[in-house]
């Protein structure tokens, strides 16, 4: 069903460890289900990802976050689903931007110490996946596994 459909994973600031773990996990999981996966992030986040997956076994396509936003606004590219990872107000703001500029079905993946409060502050249309996780990825992984795509 998902063959050829495009999925976007948007990384926030990479300072919270569970993000990279869950991005790699979710990218692989989506790819195995037939999704064409692209991961976007800051220069630092993309470098962390490429260093962990040097042969692009888990992630085949990466893109600079600002460049991607420009391309989506200019309608050069769009996606069917988008997972926006966030643990801060800035991440939440990026999620709102994707909600406004893209037609993708949006999932807000909220984690970190203040996950619950941050999750409540999201008032744009997004399906929320919220887990108070910083070092242990399992609570977030369990919530991601329950998502029906």
């Amino acid at each position: 069903m998902s063959e050829g459909k495009k999925a976007l994973l948007v990384m926030g600031c990479p300072e919270v460890p569970v993000q990279m773990s869950m991005v790699i996990y979710l990218a692989h999981k989506l790819k195995k289900s037939g999704w064409d996966v692209t991961v976007a992030g800051t220069n630092a986040a993309v470098k962390l990802l490429l260093a962990a997956d040097p042969e692009s076994y888990y992630v085949q396509k990466t893109v600079d976050l600002d460049k991607l936003i420009a391309d989506v606004v200019e309608k050069k590219v769009d996606f069917d689903i988008c997972f926006a990872f966030m643990h801060s107000d800035a991440g939440m703001t990026y999620g709102a931007t994707f909600c406004a500029i893209s037609k993708a079905r949006l999932f807000a993946v909220v984690f970190g110490k203040n996950a619950e409060a941050l999750g409540e502050s999201i008032d744009y249309p997004a399906e929320k996946i919220v887990a108070k996780a910083t070092h242990n990825p399992i609570p977030l992984k369990n919530k991601i596994d329950k998502v029906a795509i």
């Binding site: 976050l65 107000d89 800035a90 703001t93």
Partner: protein, 123 residues
Amino acid sequence: MSCIEQLKYKLYLERTSFKEAREYIEKNSEEVYYVDPGYKIFKDYYIIGVPPVAMGVRGNEMLFTYVKPCHGTFVMGMDSEEEIARLRKNEAEKIKKSLKKGGEKGKAESKPAPIRYSDIWKK
């Protein structure tokens, strides 16, 4: 990195929340305009934000929000008559569009008024 960081700018708020940045612009500008996320300024910066995204004008200076994933939201000010003119033009076009919509809607919804009092009772 956007070219914005290489331009001459002033920083009014640093590493704050988007909400606080928006409130700062609303309180400290002579004119406030609201744009959608993705609005392009200075050739290659697409505004990141939670709608409504406030942009301010104070004299020749345009106030706007700049968001960085690891550092939060900044309120920046840059002198640019060109960008201010574009912002005003954008707003004028929005008003024109909404007036047009209202006009068409008004036309569709309104029934022609009866010409004479006696016509009201005619079937």
